[in-house]
Amino acid sequence: MTVSPLQGITHACFGLSYLCALLLEVAQMLWPRAVWRPLALVFGFAGLFAQTAFVLYHQPTPASPYGSLLLLAWVLAVFYLYGTVHHPKQAWAVFVLPVVIGLVGLSLVLATAGESEPEFGIPPWLTGERFWGVVHGTLILLAAVGVSVGFLTSLMYLLQARRLRNKVNPGRVVPLLSLERLETMNRRAVNLAFPLLTVGLLVGTVLAPTPGDTWLSLKILSTAGLWVVFLVLLYLRYAVHVPPRRLALLSIAAFALLLVALVTAHPFAVGGAK
């Protein structure tokens, strides 16, 4: 049996690459030098390459907590690189990379011992009774991307608003996107995430119910809480016109609930985390 070179890629490869990229970005903020940013991008791209290879090789299912965290980290890593390349003057990476690294770390904690062999052809989780579970997991994952973007833009918004409230010299601080831009991004992320989350939850409840799960389990409660927070967010934004600063706080709460929902044990993870 031949051993694929991709088998040697581990969480450490991309996790540490992202960490190096983050440290270089911090160095760029503190001691600006022309060399930090390109080096950070090299590490960022190397991390993304390694994670992509890892995901392709191990094919983690989005229906498992482990898989959903890893895939969410991958999407956010793409988001980080896109943002850094397109907005080189903004302190993008210092907000996104800690989340990416955190998600990779969480997925590593959830990973069970023992490597599964790579699966080629149609993965088993795309066939049979697990299909609706995977649809449910994928929709929740896509909604999670929206929640994560909403969280990041909210953090940046709050920081930017705080600086403006204190009338901090614009030239003296970490460059951030404008309030208007951050608000727009947050609104789009929430608007996109809500229908995905709703349909994902409906699929999970109606078509792929979990045997043994009760309405009072932490996963169900946190997911329902997340949905309610989203509903409240939309209501406050469009019906009550609550100031964006309060909406940003709610977006951050939504992200916390999302993390709880994702790391809580999930029935579709049966058969190993990887």
């Binding site: 403006l164 009338k167 010299n169 614009p170 030239g171 309030l179 208007e180 609550v242 964006p244 600063r245």
Partner: protein
């Protein structure tokens, strides 16, 4: 190098004198034609609102052009008594002139430290001189070098970072709040001078529309006509505040024109969640400062903007040593490169001359020994002569290169020319 930088600037001459000495286009063309003809010198004239400077380079064997001559020239050109000019002129020679130009181009000699506009003016001065065919090898090398140094200082130090005017600081704050401006409304209240200057900067953001209101309708109409805006009656101030995204207020009102209660009752409820940035440039202030919440309503007064400007200026000052170090290194490099360039032909001629002498001695000798020595002996003799030549030349060439470092190779170059009978 026979280079002089002669002129006056904001430190050495009053604005009245600088105005009198300013070169308009016809005068500039005339001067750039006159200077090479009269003094046999390459010439570039750098004229800005803060300085009038002439850069003059003559062949090394000629006497330099000194400031009294230039005072006379300027006196003739502008019809100003020579006594009124002479004492206000400064003169920088050779490497000092190079350093001066590098500092000027980098914004180190500017009133607003680190301003970048000067680099463009240096470039324009060179282009005007090139067009008039007033420049030769030295100034054609020096000015592009100055622009390169200016770029280095700009990119490698923080000398040009941050805004150092109240108006540009205001624009910086606006950019922190809004992303696009083509859908925004700017409201101008009053007609103060500071407001007009800031409005000019805000206009560069291309807002969708500008509304102008004033207690005096005529003044509002005049400001609106000036900026392409729309004048509104003073009675519609609340309505204008509802529509506005950016407010620029510069009235001379003795009390706030928009107290908090008025804003909260008549404006805020109708604005929805839209952000409003208010630049209250009036003293006493026009808007209640308690309106500022850092999110939906942001109020910046003159003190806030002045503080930003002071911080930026202070930060720029901290980068002066780094900028001066770059300039010192670049001046040394320029002087060395220039001297090497001048030494190159002398070294070439010297080597060719010694080559010729070696051949003149060696050829008859080898002809006489022809058939009596082996090929190996012949090679040995040729090698020995070449070695002798190299050792003979090593001293003068090394001395010339050493002198190039210090910028004093002219005398040595002349001595070598005379000693070895080289062409001038």
């Amino acid at each position: 190098m026979n280079l002089r930088a002669i002129g006056c600037n904001v430190q050495s001459a009053s604005v009245e004198l600088r105005e009198q000495l300013a070169f308009d286009e016809p005068k500039l063309a005339r001067a750039l034609a006159e200077l090479p003809a009269r003094y046999g010198a390459e010439a570039v004239i750098l004229g800005t609102c803060n300085r009038v400077e002439l850069y003059l380079a003559r062949p090394e064997e000629d006497a330099p052009v000194h400031s009294p001559l230039i005072a006379e020239f300027l006196s003739e050109m502008h019809g100003v008594p020579v006594e009124a000019i002479r004492t206000h002129l400064y003169e920088h020679a050779d490497a000092d002139a190079v350093r001066h130009l590098f500092r000027v181009a980098s914004g180190l000699d500017s009133v607003v430290l680190g301003e970048t506009q000067i680099a463009g003016q240096v470039k324009e001065a060179l282009e005007a001189a090139q067009k008039a065919e007033a420049v030769g090898p030295l100034l054609n090398t020096l000015f592009p070098a100055a622009l390169r140094v200016s770029k280095r200082v700009r990119t490698e130090t923080g000398l040009t970072e941050g805004h150092v005017s109240v108006s540009s600081a205001a624009v910086d704050f606006v950019r922190e709040v809004f992303e696009t401006f083509t859908d925004k409304t700017v409201l101008v209240i009053g007609a103060g001078k500071m407001g007009r200057l800031t409005l000019k900067h805000l206009q560069e953001l291309h807002p969708a529309r500008i509304l102008v209101t004033n207690r005096n309708a005529e003044k509002a109409a005049a400001v609106a006509a000036d900026c392409g805006g729309q004048a509104l009656p003073w009675g519609q101030l609340d309505e204008a505040l509802v529509q506005a995204d950016i407010v620029l207020s510069t009235t001379g009102a003795p009390e706030p024109i928009v107290p908090r209660r008025r804003f909260d009752e008549k404006v805020r409820p109708r604005r929805g969640n839209r952000a409003l940035v208010i630049f209250d440039m009036a003293v006493p202030r026009d808007f209640d400062p308690r309106l500022h919440d850092g999110d939906r309503v942001l109020v910046f007064n003159v003190d806030d903007l002045t503080r930003v400007v002071d911080q930026a200026t202070q930060r720029r000052r901290s980068h002066i040593p780094a900028a001066e170090a770059i300039i010192a290194a670049e001046v040394a490099r320029f002087v060395q490169d220039w001297n090497r360039r001048k030494d190159g032909p002398v070294i070439g001629q010297l080597t060719a001359e010694i080559d010729r002498l070696r051949e003149a001695v060696l050829a008859p000798l080898l002809a006489k020994l022809n058939g009596k020595i082996s090929a190996a002996d012949r090679d040995y003799i040729e090698g020995a002569f070449r070695l002798f030549q190299n050792r003979l030349l090593h001293g003068p060439i090394a001395a010339l290169q050493e002198a190039a470092h210090t910028g004093h190779s002219t005398t040595l170059r002349e001595a070598l020319r005379k000693l070895f009978g080289l062409q001038g």
